[in-house]
Amino acid sequence: MASMIMASSKPVISIAASSSFFSKPKLKQIPQLSLPKLPSPKFLKTQQIPSLSSTTLKSISLFTVTTLSFAPPSLAAEIEKAALFDFNLTLPIMMVQFLFLMFALDKVYFTPLGKFMDERDAAIKEKLASVKDTSEEVKQLEEQAAAIMRAARAEIAAALNKMKKETQLEVEEKLAEGRKKVEVELQEALANLENQKEETIKSLDSQIAALSQDIVKKVLPL
């Protein structure tokens, strides 16, 4: 194919190639789609080859067209096959194949996957909606937790107060007890002191008489 295209860049071959697409219907005398303004075969056949070769104004294009129209059967058959607009049973077969493909793809792809995607979308939407609901629930739970905390704090504060009061009372009681004890001991001690004082004073009194006699004896020499 490549070499053909390369060759077709030359004008002679390009005409030959292009006419090869369209000259086939001419040969078969079948009306077909696009027909370029080529001279009709009948007109060409009436011409004689010598006259053609002798004419000086034979253009390259005309030459190639004539060679094509005079082509031997083998070449003609080959050119005949070069048909771009060749409609045949392929067309209805392709239609049937397409319809088959459509139903098959619908069964294995479009319907199941579409259904699956729609269901998933619905499920996700549902979940999203339910998530909104749980946010309210979370709020309620938070409030409950806060209430419980508040109650617990109040309870603890009450217990603390109570305990403080109790301990204070106890302490005061003990303090009062201690004070009483101390006072009693103090008074006892004071009483003891008084007793001792009196005893000493009594003993001193008796001793004073003796001492004063002694002092008098000593001072007054007799």
Partner: protein, 244 residues
């Protein structure tokens, strides 16, 4: 004379130009283009096989293959919805198959090494580079939009031919012929021309230079598939929408 014909013969032998040449099979006395059928079977096998493998066991969190097919399906749905409107649902298989078949066909012509397989005559190429394929698809599109209009509006569908004025009746009727004609020839011409351009460039400069043109060909192939599917959807949508 003989010399000339021999030279031409030799030329044809050397050239081996395969444009417009077909590998014929006879089926019940009718001729078919075997190369088109063979490549179209490969395309159908690729499509069905990959779809079955990727969609066989759909996961909530899609795997790579499933993700790709989901993306393609979303894309097809988007195209159908844009062109047809809210009632696009039943037409997704038609539009989607149209797009996928043409797309994979076009790319198979550019990417698959068909040349490895030698045929006695003609050569394997994209199925869309044969006029039979494109005309078949275009005619199916015509049938589809007629069916869409008739099933939606009954015989009232034909009132669109005399709208906005009865003067336009010939043009409206002509449209029904130009639509499949333009659809089929656009696709056929683009794909054939693309392959020819690549071949010409390869023959002139065998390396590096044809590569951008090959990429352009891939791009054009995709665009053509999209255009065909979009236009098919547009025609269907047009025949379904209300004419006030």
């Amino acid at each position: 004379m003989n010399g000339i014909s021999n030279a031409l013969n030799g030329l044809y032998d050397i050239s081996g130009v395969e444009v417009g040449q077909h590998f014929y099979w006879q089926i019940a006395g009718f001729q078919v283009h075997a190369q088109v059928l063979i490549t179209s079977w490969v395309v159908i096998a690729i499509l069905l096989g990959s779809a079955v493998i990727a969609v066989r066991n759909p996961q909530t969190i899609p795997t790579a293959g499933q993700n790709f097919f989901e993306y393609v399906l979303e894309f097809i749905r988007d195209v159908s919805k844009t062109q047809i409107g809210e009632e696009y649902g039943p037409w997704v298989p038609f539009i989607g198959t149209m797009f996928l078949f043409i797309f994979v066909s076009n790319w198979s012509g550019a990417l698959l090494p068909w040349k490895i397989i030698q045929l006695p005559h003609g050569e394997l190429a994209a199925p869309t580079n044969d006029i039979n394929t494109t005309v078949a698809l275009a005619l199916l599109t015509s049938v589809a939009y007629f069916y869409a209009g008739l099933s939606k509006k009954g015989l009232g569908y034909f009132s669109k031919y005399i709208q906005p004025t009865p003067i336009l009746l010939p043009i409206n009727i002509l449209e029904d012929f130009t639509k499949p004609l333009s659809l089929s020839f656009r696709l056929f011409g683009n794909i054939l021309a693309d392959e020819l351009v690549v071949v010409v460039l390869v023959s002139l400069v065998p390396s590096v230079v044809p590569i951008p043109v090959m990429f352009l060909g891939l791009f054009i192939s995709g665009i053509q598939a999209l255009i065909f599917a979009t236009l098919a959807a547009a025609y269907i949508g047009e025949s379904m929408e209300g004419h006030h």
